[in-house]
């Protein structure tokens, strides 16, 4: 499942971060990497971008960017 498909209030474990170049690097640097626990805090009023909590801080990602992050163990 992709991070962009998750609903508000769901948690999951990151399996793989795709995409390339700067975007991938940025996502990884913000701590969204394999094995990290993410929690979907909310979507913006216009459904894009989304806000998630990882390692205790809040990060926003566009839905298209979140679609590059594969997650597992969604709950």
């Amino acid at each position: 499942m992709w991070l962009s498909e998750m609903k508000e209030g769901q948690s999951a474990t990151v399996v793989h971060v795709g995409g390339n170049g700067m975007l991938r690097r940025r996502i990884l640097e913000m701590g969204i990497l394999k094995g990290a626990e993410v929690y979907i805090e909310k979507y913006a009023p216009l459904r894009d971008p989304l806000e998630l909590i990882v390692k205790g801080y809040h990060v926003s990602l566009r839905v298209a960017e979140a679609a590059k992050v594969e997650v597992d163990n969604v709950r």
Binding site: V17, G21, M22, L23, R24, R25, R26, I27, L28, E29, M30, G31, L33, K34, E41, K42, Y43, A44, P45, L46, R47, D48, P49, E51, K55, G56, Y57, H58, V59, S60, L61, R62, E65
Partner: protein, 738 residues
């Protein structure tokens, strides 16, 4: 380790120490910097880029400490300007100590930058900032253990309470004084495969170059395995043929690692660094299960709420505008009155000569017309500082990103563009909040299409004269045209000139914080100072040029002998006054003044017509003719280059109407001059779009950091203005309007 001392064999001033502050955005780095340096700050730009550089000096412990505030970054990869600037500073300028401000409540992510600094082999000191926040979140950090694990001195600070700053400086000085070479211990460890690749490359480099590489060989090897563009270039520059060999070797090793891990080695190394950090965090941080009440999250539930998030956002923006342009009016009036008083006083004191004209009509009038915006700018920047310091700025970007992304822009572009309706100068400067240079340039290019408040008087005069009751609708349509063109321009440039991958919207939403007045004021003043300093120069020169063009040549040959006309007016009225009854005298006196005034205005109008700018206007008349604008309109538009408000006053001068109840007189004069509603509309469209005013241009030059973009902006907006006005005027004629 010859390279450390190679180009700095001895220190010239042993009593000077340079301390650089590094850290994540929102880590409290700037607050710490403000606490250390107070108001003794120098704000400028890093050479060649528009990233703000802050520098401060303090005298402590017998040293002159130069404190440098490095741009806030999450990493030291060479992907963004900020990161390149920060890294190059540490690499090339070699500060005596680098203080890494670590957000203790975000230990894991903060340590990512910290480990990279550690790898750089400079003298690093960690400041565990906001430890109080961490404590309330139930985290306990073992600083001694951290210090021991990474072999780095660690100090606790609470930036916003000004705690631990003394200890931090003391420790930094102590660290600078220790003569130990950087420790040989490897502090950040990778997996076996990566380590062996690093060692192989390192050995290769050391054998081949005899230690002449610009930087530490282990670090160089790591960077080469990460395919770091800048380091690759530098290796090639410093050891050309051998450099090529080194690059080939690293390429082979990279390929090997890529096969081994089935992923880019760079990514694998990021992964491992985080793994290494996770290990450290596990050892030094204990989190109690105490569940905290998260105020920030609760605030956010309201402020970015699906239903009321937007209304609240709009309210804040409205409030900002109200404050800026309503509250700002009062000091604006005072400054205006002050400038008026100054020019009147000087006019009275100085003898009538060229110098007086230059001083009063050129310099004071020109600079005065810009300085009146200072209150607006101060208030606006205060509001923006408030948005930024509380953390709301990133929420506004979060809310607006979807809409702005449709135009090819970033959520953060919204605020600058909106501010453009007030004044383009602070708007262009507000584009600084955008991290990506492309976004910044694009925002700067389209902001001038937001009709600024200085253009409003022009619309009011023209619509008042030609559109009567429909004036409001017409003005609204003009504003709408500006917005539409900015969207089209945005999309156009995004897919042509400024093409490229969109900057990722991977943005931290920091917890809301209560702003500190001191820091708000410093932020506000920093930006306003830039406005004053840099704008001052350009405005001064520009005003003088425009003045000179309209004041010279001094002696024109008039078609009418105005002096004798004046004399005849005076004689005829004197005769009338002599014979008139006492009661009629005041009336005649008034008539005389009006008649003299009319003659004087006619003279001024003819002088303006025959001055250089008038001649330029006449020469460029064919250019404006297809737009339905006569030479007077053309001249008015040219003078509008200094400031848009001047368009109205120039029209007044050229149509020989006085200052008193000018708008009515001007309205009549405009109607009489053969201007039609259609040509008035065409002129308004032109005013909306054509070249930004001098102050804006100075701001564009400054914020894009290049004359190229400045010239482009001028050329683009003026071309668009001409084409649109042409379409309006010629299209209108075709459709039968006139």
């Amino acid at each position: 380790m010859r390279w450390i001392t190679s180009d700095r064999p001895f220190r010239m001033h042993p009593k000077n120490l340079t301390i650089a502050l590094a850290g994540n955005p929102n880590s409290g780095k700037t607050t710490t910097f403000n606490n250390i340096t107070g108001t003794r700050q120098k704000v400028g730009n890093w050479p060649g880029v528009t990233v703000a550089k802050k520098e401060g000096r303090v005298h402590k412990y017998g040293y002159d400490l130069k404190i440098i505030d490095l741009p806030g970054t999450y990493s030291l990869t060479p992907f963004s300007i900020e990161e390149i600037v920060a890294r190059n500073y540490v690499l090339d300028e070699r500060p005596d100590v680098v203080v890494d401000i670590i957000d203790a409540s975000n230990l894991e992510r903060s340590l990512y930058l910290a480990t990279q600094l550690r790898e750089l082999d400079c003298k690093v000191l960690f400041a565990l900032n906001m430890a109080d926040v961490a404590r309330t979140r139930g985290m306990k950090i073992d600083a001694d253990k951290l210090s021991q694990l990474l072999d780095v001195p660690v100090v606790f600070t609470v930036g916003n309470k000004n705690e631990g700053i003394e200890a931090l400086l003391k420790q930094a000085v102590k660290l600078a004084e220790t003569d130990t070479k950087t420790p040989k211990r490897r502090n950040v460890k990778y997996s076996k495969d990566i380590e062996s690749a690093i060692t192989r490359l390192q050995q290769f480099i050391e054998e081949k170059t005899d230690g002449t590489t610009p930087y530490n060989t282990r670090w160089t090897s790591i960077k080469l395995l990460e395919d770091d563009k800048i380091i690759k270039e530098r290796i090639l520059q410093s050891a050309d043929k051998i450099g090529l060999e080194i690059l080939q070797t690293s390429q082979a090793l990279r390929k090997h690692l890529e096969q081994r891990f089935d992923d880019d080695p760079q990514i694998v190394m990021t992964d491992e660094r985080y793994g290494f950090i996770a290990g450290i965090v596990k050892e030094i941080q204990t989190t109690s299960t105490k569940q905290r009440v998260d105020v920030s999250r609760n605030i956010d539930l309201v402020l970015t709420n699906r239903f009321i998030g937007f209304p609240i956002f709009l309210f804040f923006i409205w409030a900002m505008f109200q404050l800026t342009f309503t509250l700002g009016t009062y000091p604006m009036d005072w400054i205006d009155a002050g400038v008026g008083w100054l020019s009147a006083t000087l006019a009275g004191l100085l003898p009538d000569n060229l110098f007086k004209a230059l001083l009063v009509d050129g310099i004071i009038a020109g600079v005065g017309s810009v300085i009146v915006f200072l209150p607006n700018i101060l208030i606006l920047f205060f509001c923006i500082a408030l948005f930024e310091d509380t953390g709301y700025m990133s929420r506004s970007a979060f809310l607006m990103d979807k809409i702005m992304h449709l135009i090819g822009l970033h959520g953060k572009s919204f605020i600058p563009m909106l501010m453009g309706f007030g004044c383009n100068v602070p708007a262009i400067m507000a584009a600084r909040t955008l991290e990506s240079e492309k976004d910044r340039i694009l925002t700067i290019l389209i902001t001038p299409f937001m009709s600024c408040s200085a253009k409003l008087p022009v619309y009011i005069i023209l619509t008042g004269a030609f559109f009567g009751t429909r004036a409001g609708t017409v003005i609204f349509a003009i504003y709408l045209l500006g917005i539409t063109l900015s969207i089209i321009t945005g999309r156009l440039f995004r897919s042509t000139l400024l093409r490229g991958v969109d900057a990722p919207f991977v943005m931290e939403l920091p917890p809301y914080r209560f702003p500190m007045l001191k820091s708000l004021l410093i932020h506000m003043w920093d930006r306003s100072k830039l406005f004053l300093k840099k704008m001052g120069k350009v405005i001064l020169i520009g005003s003088i040029i425009i003045w000179a063009l309209s004041a010279f040549p001094r002696n024109v040959s008039y078609s009418v002998d105005y002096d004798s006309k004046m004399n005849s007016v005076i004689t005829s009225y004197t005769a009338q006054l002599d014979t008139a009854a006492e009661s009629a005298k005041p009336r005649i006196e008034k008539e005389k003044e009006a008649a003299l005034f009319a003659v004087e205005k006619a003279r001024q109008a003819e002088h303006a017509e025959k001055s250089y700018i008038g001649r330029i206007g006449k020469i460029s008349a064919p250019l404006f003719a297809p737009l339905g604008i006569d030479w007077r309109g053309g001249v008015a538009l040219l003078t509008g280059f200094v400031a848009k408000e001047i368009v109205v006053s120039t029209l007044g001068v050229l149509h020989a109407v006085g200052d008193k109840d000018a708008s009515d007189a001007l309205t009549n004069a405009l109607r009489a001059s053969g201007m039609t509603p259609l040509s008035a509309l065409s002129m308004m469209v032109f005013v909306l779009l054509y070249l930004p005013c001098l102050a804006s241009i100075a701001a564009i030059r400054r914020e894009t950091g290049s004359y190229k973009w400045m010239s482009f902006s001028i050329a683009y907006s003026t071309t668009v203005a001409w084409i649109m006005a042409f379409i309006v005027y010629q299209g209108g004629i075709l459709l039968g309007y006139s």
